[in-house]
Symmetry: C2
Subunit: 411 residues, 2 copies
């Protein structure tokens, strides 16, 4: 049997074309949420949705939907595919856009092939996934899933002082549908990995089984400034050394973990930051992630216990502030198995994996069976113009999405 496949040239052409929208004079790409560039990208997408014969719908938080429903299936919950088309500043062209345009491509391919879907199929582009201009990120899908009240989201003040709701009105994407109007039967998101695993293991398709929980901390350590020469080691309260010890502690625990814990100390600052003065104060961040909720809580507990011990042993005082906290998300086991099976059937290598980044799928998992498909990212680079995936890899991922959608409309 000859398997149905998407139109690779059309998909690649659209990714490239959308990638031209929002370039500055130096050629840098930025389509932050509800900006003029975002409007231009939305207009382009809306045109493609309409041209493909789909029904265009926009909800009050600006999420864009393209629906393919028939008289025979309209009373059933749709299978939804999607992602986002807003970007970071100085972005690549694949993050988000790939999932939206591949979703549109899958629907067009099925329509053109005369496929008769037992359920509607829809594609979504969620508002403000990146969260660069307005916090929190993944806002459109969060509002859709009922996790953030619409009025609160619309009142969000941006980094530039703008109000999200007013900007949505201005660019013409304050829609009329109530958020959540579309209650999907399943949600599948195709995305570049934004990490190095698939490339380094030479695997084509990632069947994403879960998404890491995140625990962010700011740690402030107060010791005592003293002369680096005249103060014996035993009389020091060295805030800088305590920060280093914490960094090594979280790193070594994560490195020894078999459960996928990762730990990063991304920011650090010493005061007074002089070569011959023992630091009186150190501030640092700890980014802890784990795909398992129990493990994440256990790692947080180990860190808290270590801080207590360290404080007691060294005489520094340690204050911690939780900057962010998201529980891990487990994706639908049926979708994960379906992704694996679809990849295998096409002769594509596949592995189960964890998403280290946040995605709209984690919000949709609150209200429906959700899953994700990853394709390789060269060198794991993302949020950067160097973001790159080969056409053949992109096409392979889109064909797996096609197969998964065809399967899910029948479940």
């Amino acid at each position: 049997m000859h398997a149905l496949s998407i139109n690779t040239g059309r998909l690649m052409g659209r990714i490239q074309q959308l990638g031209t929208i929002g370039r500055d004079a130096e050629g840098r790409l930025a389509r932050t949420a509800c900006s003029d560039a975002d409007k231009a990208g939305r207009d382009m997408l809306a045109g493609w949705i309409t041209d493909a014969g789909l029904e265009l719908a926009v909800d009050r938080i600006g999420n864009i939907f393209g629906l393919w429903k028939t008289a025979g299936n309209a009373r059933h919950a749709p299978v939804l595919v999607g992602s986002h088309i807003d970007t970071v500043i100085d972005a690549g062209i694949f993050d988000g856009c790939y999932g939206v345009l591949a979703g549109l491509e899958v629907i067009q391919t099925l329509r053109e092939a005369g496929f008769v879907p037992p359920r509607p199929i829809a594609v979504a582009a969620f508002t403000n996934e990146e969260g660069v201009r307005y916090a929190p990120d993944m806002m459109g899908s969060l509002v859709h899933a009922g996790g953030l009240p619409l009025e609160q989201a619309l009142a969000t003040v941006g980094t530039d002082g703008s109000i999200l709701g007013a900007e949505l009105e201005r660019i013409g994407y304050a829609g009329t549908e109530e958020p959540g109007f579309l209650q999907p039967h399943a949600y599948i998101e195709l995305h570049i990995e934004q990490g190095p695993i698939l490339e380094r293991e030479e695997i084509s398709v990632g069947a994403v089984e879960n998404l890491q929980g995140i625990s962010w901390h700011r740690i402030t350590i107060d010791g005592e400034a003293n002369h680096a020469g005249t103060t014996p080691m035993s009389m020091r309260r060295d805030a800088g050394h305590a920060a280093a010890a914490i960094s090594v502690f979280v790193h070594d625990r994560a490195a020894a973990s078999t459960g996928g814990t990762v730990a990063t100390v991304g920011c650090i600052r010493f005061e007074p930051n002089a070569i011959n003065v023992i630091p009186s104060r150190a501030t640092m961040t700890v980014d802890l992630r784990d795909p398992d909720a129990t493990n994440l809580a256990a790692e947080e507990g180990k860190l808290a216990g270590y801080l207590e011990t360290l404080s007691a042993q060294t005489g520094v005082t340690i204050a911690t502030e939780q900057l962010a906290r998201f529980d891990p998300v487990i994706f639908d086991a049926g979708i994960v198995a379906c992704v694996e099976a679809a990849a295998a059937k096409r002769g594509l290598s596949t592995r189960r994996m964890t998403s280290g980044a946040g995605h709209d799928a984690q919000m949709m998992a609150r209200i429906t069976a959700a899953g994700m498909i990853f394709v390789p990212s060269r060198a794991g680079v993302s949020h950067n113009p160097g973001e790159f995936t080969e056409d053949a890899e992109l096409a392979a991922g889109a064909n797996v999405l096609l197969d998964v959608v065809m399967d899910r409309v029948n479940t």
Copy 2:
């Protein structure tokens, strides 16, 4: 026998009086080398030297000497006591000034008591010990000891663009004596400890037997910036973690040392310094000190070896730059024993100790038998308005200096 003692009131009065010179509108003290404030302090000191009946001499690098010599002893090398009267910015009143004014007080006390010294006795105030305005620090004593050519020192460009030689001329302290004109029989420097040991151990007098060697390094670590969520621990090249590991390594070695090694990481910086990005670059400083030359070299070797191992194990590249290097100084054993004996005779508790800070005595040790006497510093504070030592402790130290000088003129 009733021991001779210095005039405590006169000494304290002069310390306080000199401490009024160089205050700004907010009351902060600064007499950086060759400034107007330094000139005013020098003028005050020169007046006291002359009033005490001593011969005033100034050399070409601006070092000030007060000499007490007699027809009977003029052909012998003098016993020299001294320190400096320049200060850091926002200084205390004791650092340096105590040693100079106690030296003057010792000579005055001996003269008034009718003491007949077999050798001349002299007091020195060396130019630019602090090195705040002109580098290197301890410049006047270094030039005196022949360690830096006079012309090079005079050509030094200050942090404010000024030329040291021109500033010496301007303030009237470009003297006529050739540096090194006075070749002492011995040099003794009385100083506040600038560290916490004497206070915490409740000891009155430190017999300084050596002065730490210093080894300063700037270490630059290059790794790879990556997403804190999507990059497995095994695929990271985390420059920040490497910096933390180095910090813990040098700290733990020093803390375990029985030989007085101290290690400080005073400065650190991460790039890009973002909470969810693995640091691509970390820069840090390491300040290593040890009173023993062999130990210091061994610690430097251990650090270099660790950096190689760490680089090989973690894939980061590590570059080091030596910012400063001074060998340790061993003070004259006879003077150390004499300080101990003098303190004991006055019923003062004493201990042998290491100087963690640099002092003019380390330069004078190049050309003569040199030693130092320490008195307690409250909380180890120095280079700060909080610098403080009790009058009784200052007087006790000056009386020990008196006894040591009386002893050394006879050896």
